[in-house]
Symmetry: D2
Subunit: 382 residues, 4 copies
């Protein structure tokens, strides 16, 4: 093969992005956005992998991404996109322009896992078969499974979950299916699954990379930019109160206190890690129906300065959840696919930049995570 | 000399800290705080040079600092400290405990420069003589002059100011006196002086280090932690509005629009540098008398995310100006003295961490500045 | 005439609403909204005159309003409505549904007054003739002229403006034309005109009612709800800082400091009146282009409580300017027309509820204004 | 008796103020403040009864108030005052000036009721005897008992509590003792007791007035000023989220969710009453230890305006709990004593201005409550 052929081949290489929760707001926004950027109908704002520091030319091209997924909801992608457009979350003109493509992608959305309808082993095999068929059908070089389904409750004793016979949470089944099918895996949702021995061992056996958990999209992102400021200035955090008001989608799931705990514990542990000790203060996640896809966070920080003088910083963050999450999901698909292509396997702690609760790493400070990400990306090509 | 003798000698070595504006809030708070920490009456909160990353043991000990200064105001340090205590800015018990020491230090506060009362050349020689006498009297290894006087208006054509005959701003005269007396110099105040050829050349001739300008203590500090977050996430800043409400002290000086411009232009240029382009939005500095030593800032940031969705971040900062500035002033005295001892000269851009408008450097991102500072500090001992 | 006939006649009675600035955001939103409500396509949210306390059945029906106006801008109402829809300010479906009606209304929009193109006397007569033709053509019982044009700069010596030969501001010319044509007048814009002898005397001669000035739509509305709280609780206001960030439309006009003064002085005098003394604190109005039709205000209030303890209240208001103003404009047209029908003339201070700078009255407290309005409305029918 | 004698007599008349929770922050602040005002050492800021609208001259003079109380905590008033002074809540100089008087008052603080140590009937008689002795000893014209003890949990079935044999909450026992002793009663704490038949009937039998419940001191105060604004402008509340961060004192009590419910349900019902329907949104009360006597509230309000445009108002309130409550407690003692003197008995709904959960009334709007209070006060003298 000549180098020209190789380059041609590489250009033609396509990457599958398989969403668990393909009919949800995040996946829909990611797909519509990817199509919009492909057709020059949308800017690349929010795409970290389009920044020069991450050398976009060496990553799977946005044009080369092929979408599919699992979902337990049968509503079509186009319908979901229209709903998001009428809620002002997606531009109506863009949704109109890509409607036919959304319908084509829907042909690659398969029924998800519903507990009780099949055994875990059956489910893993069925889901893996879906992935295999998707790769074959589209002649894909690689597939990355990205879990953007609803938040899962925490698991009581993760260490005890070692085989398919154990009572595995739903998310683990998708991860096992990914590894069985030779696909890399990203947990963008708060999920215990990447810390279960049964999952970790499956990834190791299959020599596949994975990254997670819980996309850092809003209030925790700001926290991870601000907390190091207090540390570097020797200002002592006295309390940090956090309130998150979430609209319909994720808000609904988090109305269950057990599930909410999954999210607040990730948020809290990051702050404590950055402060070097537990920082007191309440942390609330509330559903406020009329916020729709939007979320508002208020943080109130008290800190001591020189001679014990107590001072205050407050911030309010008003963001659109799916608009914050969707580009990161595309970024992760590109980066994890590139890692897979470069032969990396196991946890990818250098992707901590994207997560509230980074698997395999302990760095929560945003600037350090950014530096780690850039260095890792540069090392990937060598 | 045995190594024991050397160590004894080092322990005994003392560093002079000479304040321009010795009777102001910042200098008074710094002196009271240094005495309080020395006697174990105050915590080291807010002291960056007490963080392990900066290896405090290798810096001039807080116990070894000897204070003096210039001021055009004759009110005593003790009176100023009492006023700050009754305003709730300094702990009353602490001020009581160090009153006698404050009076002793006042013996080393000399009359400052008043335009028109002497020629520039006369002033430089007189002020330098004060510094020399201070060093000799206290047997000091080194002296650092720290300008904490009021904000100075900007200079129309800095490049044209090349000799003592030119119309020099007041701050330049103190800097020239410092260099004539062999002392290092820190401009903690917004000041044009470290960019005047006459000053830069004097420092070069005397092979002395200097650092500045304009301590980064509040809203700009937060900005420098947050702006890189938007950049690293490829979020596009649409506008950034800033409002600073300042109490009596600095607020009064900034009622003069010309002087205020000196401060807002430093704030603005930093943001634009971090964003990589001019970010529109008003920037106000207002005096609100009843705030006293406190300042409140409100920032309103609009940014675009994926598919052009516009989102908002707001923050409110409520800080005590002198409590924020005083520990940094002590930090700078220690660090610049150590640089002087290590033979460094000229601008010290690695101290950009402390400044809104870093001389000799262009880095405004707080986390990068912190990394640069730590690396520089580690290199100082080699 | 039987009572049945009378009732039929009343039902058929129509009221003209003539906008000065008919092609602007406020007039366009008011017209589109009125049509939308008429067709059952929009809720009556924000319409004060639809509250039972104001007895809507006794006011001119929304269905009976006929729209026209003056403007110096020739762009069509439909184009402006589409622009507002694409900016997310008006529902696109609604704008589509009423497009044809907008074009019909545009036939009643006449060229406005441009200084220098005609004498003041000529202009008054021409504009009055437009109003007369409008009334005749549509067989209107009454016409109310509502000025929603851009903010006008203040007038140096209002008392001196007594005849058409004096240098009258543009707004006065429209008011004089209204009175010449027998129409009532509302100054919804900050405008000096209702305090000029030449205008006041013309209204008196014509026995016509008028109301103004400067619609209370956002930050000042909140202020007028909060300031009485401090007074009734004997809490002493120490400072009240206000920052208004305005988007394109009104923001552009207010970039002129002279014009901005027209607006801030109205805001300030209301607060001082409610506090019973001048309350210090900066008051800013800034244009922030990317806000579009939206405005954001931040207020920071410091107040003393028991034993002089200083406390703080801050608020942030995020509102859509035209959505806030448009229903009030319709409310005022209905109420002033009813006052005209009831034989009222001169200033209507009981409508202070709607204004930052009420003409003929001194009450700024929102709850008292509401009570005054309800009482006045009830008295109107007797 | 001549009118001169009468006037002399009235001047000499003294009123007892008896605190349930006499050693707490609110009672201590009220007593220190009353003494401070008496000696001209403190301003009358925050005293509603010093406003001319309430005709202070006709109310019991501040000089004529005599303090005593019950508490289960034996720490002295002077010690508590010193603790508040060192926390910056009370001026240290003032506490020093009134120390001896505080000790004298402590002689009139008697042990409170501890469940299980005596029967309810015994407790009522003992506490009433304390009140009788206090009145006799000081030759008081009247006594008002003011409950400023910690928040009490709600009662499951208030209607069922009809006799001393029923399981009465602690607060009821103090109210019963007050009525047995001929004293008026104010529930400044969230408390179910003024809605228990056993208490209501005891007040009726004794022909004594009472007022409550739950002092409206902070976030709910602001709410009651703002919610009517939305109603009068026909703006539709979509959601109202409230977060209250409280420091040590009351915060500790409210860590018990059952007790917190007592407070949030009062807050919520007032908002719903003002809106005319339930307004969704979370309502949190959190303890944040380091806030001490201070509390911070953040409210986030979403509302619909014209054509359904959704807008937002946020506010942050930073107040000192005891400085907000203490003057109201003195106001209530004066007003309820005047009502008692004027022969009023039963619930005093016209004092709703002071309460989150007004007994005997349904008006929550602050401006209406203020008007009702002023009218009632004027009627009292006739």
């Amino acid at each position: 093969m000549t180098s020209d052929e190789s380059s041609t081949h590489e250009r033609a290489e396509r990457t599958g992005v398989w969403f668990v929760g393909a009919h949800g707001s995040v996946a829909t926004t990611a797909v519509v956005g990817a199509l919009g950027m492909r057709h020059g109908l949308a800017p690349r704002t929010g795409m970290v992998t389009e920044l020069p520091e991450l050398d976009p030319a060496g990553l799977p091209a946005l044009d080369s991404l092929v979408f599919g997924g699992h979902d337990v909801v049968s509503r079509s992608l186009a319908k979901k996109a229209e709903a998001l457009a009428s809620g002002g979350v997606l531009p109506a003109a863009l949704v109109g322009a890509v409607g036919a493509e959304l319908d084509a992608i829907d042909a690659d959305v398969r029924p998800g896992y519903v507990a009780g309808e099949e055994t875990v082993a059956e489910a893993v095999h069925r889901l893996a078969a879906d992935l295999g068929a998707f790769r074959e059908h589209h002649d894909l070089a690689r597939v990355v499974v990205v879990d953007v389904a609803s938040t899962q409750p925490p698991v009581a004793d993760p260490e005890s979950l070692r085989s398919l016979e154990d009572p595995l949470p739903g998310a683990a089944i998708y991860a096992l299916a990914a590894f069985e099918a030779g696909a890399a895996y990203v947990a963008f949702t708060p999920s215990p699954c990447l810390r279960l021995p049964v999952v970790v061992e499956a990834a190791a056996r299959a020599r596949l990379p994975y990254a997670g958990c819980d996309g850092k999209t809003g209030e925790t992102l700001v926290k991870s930019a601000l907390a190091p400021m207090f540390a570097a200035r020797a200002l002592e955090l006295r309390s940090w109160a956090s309130v998150n008001l979430l609209g319909g989608g994720d808000g609904a799931t988090l109305a269950d206190p057990e599930t909410a705990r999954s999210k607040t514990s990730a948020k809290r542990s990051g702050l404590d890690a950055m402060a070097g000790r537990p920082v007191p203060g309440p942390m609330h996640i509330d559903k406020v129906e009329d916020l729709g896809e939007w979320k508002t966070a208020w943080d109130h920080v008290r800190f001591d300065g020189f001679l014990g003088t107590t001072m205050t910083l407050q911030f309010t963050w008003q963001g659109c959840d799916s608009a914050l999450a969707a580009p990161l999901v595309l970024d992760l698909a590109r980066l994890v696919s590139a890692a897979h292509a470069a032969g990396r396997s196991g946890a990818l702690p250098e992707l901590a930049f994207f997560f509230k609760d980074p698997v395999g790493g302990t760095e929560h400070r945003l600037a350090e995570q950014w530096r780690d990400l850039v260095a890792w990306r540069q090392g990937l090509d060598r």
